[in-house]
């Protein structure tokens, strides 16, 4: 490989290919629609896909992710044309305002997603196995950063791939939020007005698309983010060489890439206006973008399911000697609890979306009252996943809090068993509460009170965690480097979110709160407290392990002190206007309500948060090369991964270890958690 690839050349390629793609799309569109439509979906879609692919071509060449994307684009078109051909042969309509007809888009998109996987190369080994050919257990990765753009089986590489993808999606989803927050800064329609038209949508509709995509892209980014942390940390904490199924692990990561592309395609293919929840009958009527959204979530769901499967198998089968269940690092317990939910419940969101897709494609009337269907059934299927999912989001984050607190407080985790079991408790009770999203939905009346009881019960195990954290902190010797700041921030913010939960859970009060900005405030608090803050904490904490360098402390603190107050004001403000009558998911609000000033403040806070995240991203990439060297046990932790020098060697521990004590016995002189078993010579 002689050519030198750089980010610079990638960006150049991106620009050129974007423009070329746009005009090719414009030409095709004009040819078929017989009029030049500058803002039509097809040119934008081509521009997007071309630019994306060319960027990776510029930085990486034609292999790995680039090849995957090319395959995806080509097969989307092939798939689309196949269906279009069949339709033409059967005398059905052939093209629509969105170029392909809906069935053609759906089939093409699915074919494209599958083709991506073959193109990128995650299927290679499995194809060989199916043909009866053995493959080596490990493939050596190429050195340097380039390994991150192709298939790697190393859980640390995959963890970092997940993390970077999650950050990318947070930036995309956050940018969408900034766009629609700007629209909300004052009442009336500012720039998303009825006269504008983009991607086949007018302003208010584009608002709905951006808002809905913000929700789902952020949720996917959470799922990828937790997978990132879990993938990186869990095998290290267990003393395993890798995950139980390294190929499945790579597969689970790589399906999330075409899934993200599909989600972005829904923006340009007419969008959709249902919010992330996609309730029919509205979702049965929305443009093709809705189908791309459903497909994207469906494919991303597989990432979540297979990742969770791998985590559970790894914990069950790959632990170091002596690591009994009550000596597992607490983060591992959280990962198991999360994975149990993700493994099982995720199927239901896939199914519910699939049923709407089929309703649209084949006219099957599952949720269509005119055909004997039941719209409320969808909500039950959907929330059976999507409520437990919120605990998927937060349990790993709460695990990070419990894992890091003892390190920075220099005291054992207070009530280890209780904290461990409370994760399982939350996960299990979480399965029984879904209908609290449906108190006003017109479901059977008698279900409301039992679901109120079950929902409120979740407060009990969550409370155990909070009280145990406080007891851990109490009387400790507390230091507050950046990761610890984010841990503390997480506790406060999550507490705000958690405590705004019980009012929603009591039916009568929820009849007022439902579908208002109070709910929006509630879940931004829980999600930031339970995921975003701990995610940042985890990155700051494990960054030295991955790179051998530290992230800049000063900018880390700036990040924290800019983000936390802005965020608290943001969600307080949301709750306030929500109580006073601000509905969710509206592009414009009644000026008579007098919310203009509050909304302006909220928008400013949103930009402050974005700035802080930008600072973080710059700090992250800058520190990879220029951070202060940190190869030892930076945080003076007892955890096994910190007992060996950083960065971690590619096959993890050179010598296996044995667990000889409790994980968090800070302050007990002479105690040890793990002991390395002297090598018996030769490699195993």
């Amino acid at each position: 490989m002689e050519r030198k690839y750089t980010v610079g050349s990638g960006l150049l390629f991106l620009l050129i290919a974007g423009v070329i793609g746009y005009f090719i799309g414009l030409g095709i569109d004009a040819l078929i629609m017989k009029s030049v439509r500058w803002t039509a979906p097809v040119p934008s879609a081509f521009a997007l896909l071309f630019a994306f692919t060319a960027f990776f071509f510029g930085v990486y060449g034609y292999r790995g992710i680039t090849r995957g994307l090319v395959y995806q684009v080509v097969w989307t078109l092939i798939g689309g044309f196949i269906v279009t051909g069949i339709r033409a042969a059967r005398g059905l309509s052939v093209f629509s305002g969105f170029f392909f007809t809906e069935p053609a888009w759906v089939f093409g998109a699915l074919a494209g997603a599958v083709a991506f996987l073959f193109g990128v190369g995650v299927m290679d080994d499995w194809v060989k196995w199916a043909r009866g050919i053995d493959t080596p257990e490990h493939h050596e990765d190429e050195p340097g950063w380039e390994k991150y753009l192709g298939v790697s089986l190393d859980h640390k590489v995959i963890g970092i791939q997940y993390t970077i993808t999650a950050l990318f999606l947070i930036a995309v989803g956050g940018t969408f939020a900034l766009i629609f927050r700007t629209e909300l800064a004052a009442s009336g329609l500012q720039f998303l007005n009825v006269d504008m038209s983009l991607f086949g949508q007018n302003g208010p509709q584009l608002y709905n698309t951006l808002m809905s995509l913000h929700g789902m892209i952020m949720i996917v980014s959470i799922l990828l983010g937790i997978s990132g942390i879990i993938n990186y940390a869990v095998p290290l904490l267990l003393g395993a060489q890798d995950m139980a199924f390294p190929r499945l692990n790579a597969f689970a990561y790589w399906v999330s890439v075409p899934a993200s592309v599909l989600l972005l395609m829904s923006l340009v293919l007419g969008g959709f206006d249902t919010g992330w929840t996609g309730y029919p009958p509205l979702s049965a009527k929305a443009p093709v973008g809705q189908q791309m959204f459903f497909l994207g979530v469906f494919v991303a769901g597989w990432s979540s399911i297979l990742g969770a499967l791998n985590v559970i198998a790894t914990v069950l089968r790959m632990r170091a000697r002596g690591m009994t269940s009550m000596r597992l690092p607490i983060f591992v317990w959280a990962s198991i609890a999360t994975s149990i939910i993700a493994l099982t419940a995720t199927q239901l969101i896939g199914l519910s979306f699939q049923l709407v897709m089929f309703q649209r494609l084949f006219g099957m009337g599952f949720f269509d009252p005119a055909k004997g269907g039941n719209p409320v059934l969808f909500q039950h299927l959907f929330w059976f996943y999507s409520h437990p999912a919120v605990y998927v989001f937060v349990l790993p984050g709460l695990g990070v809090i419990s894992e890091l607190l003892p390190v920075f407080v220099r005291k054992p985790l207070f009530g280890y068993r209780w904290v461990a079991m409370s994760s399982l408790g939350i996960a299990l009770v979480g399965f029984l509460v879904w209908a609290h999203h449906m108190f006003a939905s017109g479901m059977n009346e008698y279900l409301r009170v039992p679901f109120m009881y079950s929902t409120l019960l979740v407060a009990v195990p969550t409370g155990v965690k909070f009280f145990s954290w406080v007891a851990t902190i109490w009387n400790g010797k507390i230091s507050t480097p950046t990761p610890m700041l984010f841990v503390l921030g997480a506790i406060v913010v999550f507490l705000m979110g958690g405590l705004s939960g019980p009012p929603n859970a009591t039916v009568s009060v929820d009849l007022h709160l439902h579908d208002t900005y109070f709910i929006v405030g509630h879940f931004h608090d829980t999600i930031f407290g339970g995921f975003v803050f701990p995610f940042f904490a985890a990155i700051y904490y494990w960054f030295p392990k991955a790179t051998g360098r530290r992230m800049n402390e000063f900018w880390g603190k700036v990040h924290f002190w800019l983000m936390t107050p802005s965020f608290l004001i943001l969600t307080f403000g949301m709750m306030r206007v929500g109580l006073l009558g601000m509905r969710r998911r509206i592009a414009d609000y009644d000026p008579a309500l007098g919310f203009d000033f509050t909304h302006l403040i909220l928008t400013i806070c949103a930009f402050a948060i974005a700035l802080s995240v930008l600072i973080f991203i710059v700090n992250l990439f800058h520190s990879i090369k220029h951070g202060e060297k940190a190869e030892g046990n930076v945080w003076n932790s007892r955890s096994p991964e910190w007992q060996v020098p950083s960065p971690m060697p590619s096959h993890n521990y050179e010598q296996p270890f044995e667990v000889v004590g409790e994980p968090y016995d800070y302050g007990l002189p002479g105690s040890k958690y793990v002991e390395f078993i002297p090598a018996r010579g030769g490699k195993h």
């Binding site: 009825v194 007018n202 709905n208 206006d273 309730y279 009958p281 509205l282 929305a286 009252p369 719209p375 220099r410 005291k411 207070f414 009530g415 209780w418 006003a440 939905s441 017109g442 409301r448 109120m452 409120l456 407060a459 009990v460 409370g463 155990v464 009280f467 145990s468 954290w469 406080v470 902190i473 109490w474 009387n475 400790g476 010797k477 507390i478 230091s479 503390l488 705000m496 405590l499 019980p502 009012p503 009591t506 009568s508 009060v509 009849l511 007022h512 439902h514 579908d515 006073l580 509905r583 998911r585 509206i586 592009a587 414009d588 009644d590 008579a592 409790e662 016995d665 800070y666 302050g667």
Partner: protein
């Protein structure tokens, strides 16, 4: 021990101050229905509990950050305390009883907001993209505004014509979705006279969800009866002429949710000066808005799409030829 006393005092102080602060600011809009009473009462109770719990956790945490912070140069670990089972049980059991109590109160509270008044006045509410129509079966009138007599329970029987909507008047608190294919019910007893309330659709229902609002006017019994009489008179008068009947149909079907009658914009093209004008079509060409075109536009909206507007937005309607003629007669009056 001293630490515990100080923290205890601080927790109480912070909780009380926070609660008082929130209470002074006021969190809810004015309560204007009998249902708002119990809900606001329970909400207030919850705010008390939540401020206390918030203080209970955050105050000791912040206190520790200051008092137990690591001094410069100290590299030793803190005291080795693994946990305390009694404490864990305590902070499992107490919240358990708290939430059970809250759920019990919540159930009672819910029952109170649903108390049935046998004399309730029935109003049939129809939601559609993107407007509301209110029928008063007892009086045989139809309106796009919700008039309610004060202190008399209204039983809303709600239906949706297309997608899910949700009936919500913030001052009345309670909320209920309208689900296509079934009738959902909500009981509201307005207690405060006023004309600034609005029904605000609370479930996303497409492009103009934000604008799916309708005025709610709560008046004295006498004023309500006067309004009813007036509406009845108008209706019977209107029934005499085609354009009058057309207006009634337009009201009942909520056409004006999308079509303005004064030339202003909207989801659909305005009807102002529509009849006889030249209408540009999407995909090129124009058509003269004669009776045939108007009829087609109403019965098969997808047949010709007006330039600059979305296909698929306007639902197809099933009117008799006579009804269509009435509507067209009404549209022709808009000059």
């Amino acid at each position: 021990m001293r630490h515990f006393v100080v923290v205890g005092i601080l927790v109480v102080a912070v909780a009380v101050l926070t609660y008082l602060g929130l209470h002074t600011v006021g969190l809810m809009p004015v309560p204007a229905s009998a249902q708002a009473g119990p809900i606001d009462w329970l909400w207030d109770l919850q705010i008390k509990a939540m401020t206390f719990l918030f203080a209970l956790i955050v105050v000791p945490m912040v206190y520790s950050l200051f008092v137990f912070r690591r001094r410069k140069g100290d590299t030793s670990d803190a005291e080795h305390i693994e946990g305390n089972t009694t404490l864990e049980i305590v902070w499992t059991i107490i919240p358990l009883f708290m939430v059970l109590g809250m759920a019990y109160i919540g159930a009672e509270n819910l029952a109170e907001t649903r108390r049935v008044d046998p004399d309730a006045m029935v109003v049939r509410v129809t939601g559609y993209q993107w407007g509301w129509t209110f029928d008063y079966p007892d009086y045989g009138i139809t309106s796009n505004e919700l008039y309610l007599p004060v202190n008399r329970q209204a039983l809303l029987k709600m239906e949706s014509r297309d997608v899910i909507h949700s009936f919500w008047v913030p001052e009345f608190r309670v909320k209920q979705d309208l689900v296509p294919g079934r009738v959902t019910e909500l009981r509201i007893t307005p207690t405060l006279i006023g004309d600034t309330y609005k029904v605000r659709c609370a479930e996303i229902c497409g492009t103009s969800h934000a604008y799916m609002e309708a005025p709610v006017i709560v008046v004295e019994k006498v004023a309500f009866e006067a309004w009813v009489a007036e509406q009845q008179a108008l209706a019977s008068e209107a029934g005499q002429t085609p354009e009058g009947r057309g207006l009634a149909l337009v009201t009942a079907n909520g056409c004006r949710a999308c079509h303005s009658i004064d030339g202003s914009g909207g989801v659909g093209p305005t009807w102002f000066q529509l009849a006889g004008s030249e209408v540009p079509l999407s995909g090129g060409g124009t058509v003269v808005a004669d009776d045939a075109f108007l009829k087609e536009s109403i019965l098969q909206p997808q047949a010709k799409i007006v330039a600059g507007f979305e296909a698929q937005q306007m639902p197809a309607y099933n009117f008799t030829d006579e009804q269509v003629a009435d509507i067209i007669a009404y549209i022709k009056t808009l000059k």
